[in-house]
Amino acid sequence: MDRSSHRRSRRLVPVVAVAAAAALTLAGCSSSSGGKKSQETGSNASAGKATTPRMTVALVTHQSPGDTFWDIVRKGAEAAAAKDNIKLIYSADPNAGNQSNLVQNAIDQKVDGIAVTLAKPDALKSVIGKAKSANIPVVGLNSGLSDWKKLGLLEFFGQDETVAGEAFGKKLNDLGAKHTVCVIQEQGNIGLTQRCDGVKKTFSGKTDVLYVNGTDMPSVKSTITAKLKQDSSIDYVTALGAPYALTAVQSVSDAGSKAKVATFDLNKDLTTAISKGTIQFAVDQQPYLQGYLAIDSLWLYKNNGNYSGGGEQPVLTGPAFVDKSNVEQIAKYAANGTR
């Protein structure tokens, strides 16, 4: 051990020298365009801070790691927590059993409120019952529009995926589309399937479904290309997430197809693509709003006994359409990663 560490320290000298030389060389290699330097420093939405007593709220979602969408939900929740003097505990697991354990974990921590997504409501039923018997208010967000009342949640903030799909289908009708392919990036995801079903319901043309492997972008690209070549009558690609829509644009050109691309959900690059016209429109469910309202509502309930929708109606955060006509005003928020 001793000898090897000596050897290592002797090796360290040239390493440091090389690193220093590299740092000097890099200074001469800066990019004249793009990059961090050109990024605008926009400020996040922030208000003053409440003087109410410090409270703790848990947000438990079914996010899979690294999903841009959930990152925006979380930012909304964090903004509300900062404003309301709330300590926010965020946890997530796409596996329903694990998610219910995380809710139990929050109950054990004796939090003042829980916000939870109900992607698989049955798996969360018993643990939500436990929260209620521990007198912890529970609100729902994002998924579970048809189940939140049954499970006795206080209120719900989200978008009905089927309604969003239906609105999407109607929009396609207005744009004169004849044949669309609905690209699902995660086989078996209920929300994504409901979106495609919604499109199918109202769209007067033909709707095909295509599954792609969302964790492998080159595979997504070539699979969409293959589908467009297999059926050249497809004139609209319906993507269910912003990164997949941007990839679909490349597939369309690879396949030599004339299809147009539209999508659910937004991100920074997508707003650029909409203003450039490479993507026609996006349906936004305002994930920031879902996270923000869910946390803020728990604060209101604790401090003033309010609850939205009177315990009867959900609070709908979408579908909101983003297209060339209104993309400019949204783009700057998307650039901050909050829309």
Partner: protein
Amino acid sequence: MSMTQHAEPAVETPPAPGPKESDGRTAQRSAFVRLMARPDVGVFLGAVAVYVFFLIAAPPVRDASSMANILYQSSTLGIVTVPVALLMIGGEFDLSAGVGVITSALTASMTAYQLTLNVWVGVIAALIVSLAIGFFNGWMVVKTGLPSFLVTLGTFLILQGVNLAVTKLITGNVATDDISNMDGFSSAKKVFASSFDIGGVQVKITVFWWLLFAAIATWVLLRTKYGNWIFAVGGNKESARAVGVPVAFTKISLFMLVGFGAWFVGMHQLFSFNTVQSGEGVGIELIYISGAVIGGCLLTGGYGSAIGPVFGAFMFGMVQQGIVYAGWNPDWFKAFLGVMLLGAVLINLWVQRTMTRR
């Protein structure tokens, strides 16, 4: 994985001299049988079978541009499958290769963007990081003697977390920023993500790189001393050491080659899609490994080729896209994929068995 093969006679396993003059007992075999006994013939036949099947079942496959698309998909898998196969011949696994691709792409993107540097600086930084990950894997395996399955499972999990956490820490988001308007992007795109026009068909450059890497790997494996070392360390580490093969060097460099492959595909993804999602790449490591196994590499090491995995990756691409070209009910997609792959592996196995027994 290195313990079990000592007990077996390992007849097909060539010792140091190389794969050609494999075993004396079958000197009387005909040229045909000898050809069929090569590790890559089974997968070749399997790939042909799958190809012909889809040629009949899916009319769009007959189009040359469809083939270019299938080859593209295969190449993005194949560029990593080739070094993964070499590593497997050398007797080790790498489960961190799939997320390693994303680590590399994230490193390049964030280095260039955050420091506002020419993107080539990011490309080099990513290469260093990828090789370092490979070195770490190899060094851990050699120094500790732990199974590479465990060591790289560890790096797999570490990288998965690091990808996410560091990206979030640095960019504030879970995806990197668009670097397509930065200096050096267009020249890097030419190298990693451009297309060529061949007879009116756009072929992606990754296809050429894939075939080039496979050709180099085959040459190294069959014609160089280093190639013999790979077979030797995978066959029996102790006897390899006894005859003077630098076991530690060979294994560590093989892990670093996988790092190189991951870097290359990472760069392709970056320059092809402009941004990188930090959560991607999970699960792809198994496709690389299956590509190598379908391509005739033994899970126990010491046996295999670099050409077999080319067909292995092709078979994956072919089945994955063929199902779409055939327009089959997409609900069954994964099941089709599994059945086709299992079928191909069985053909492979059958060819191996019948040909080596006679």
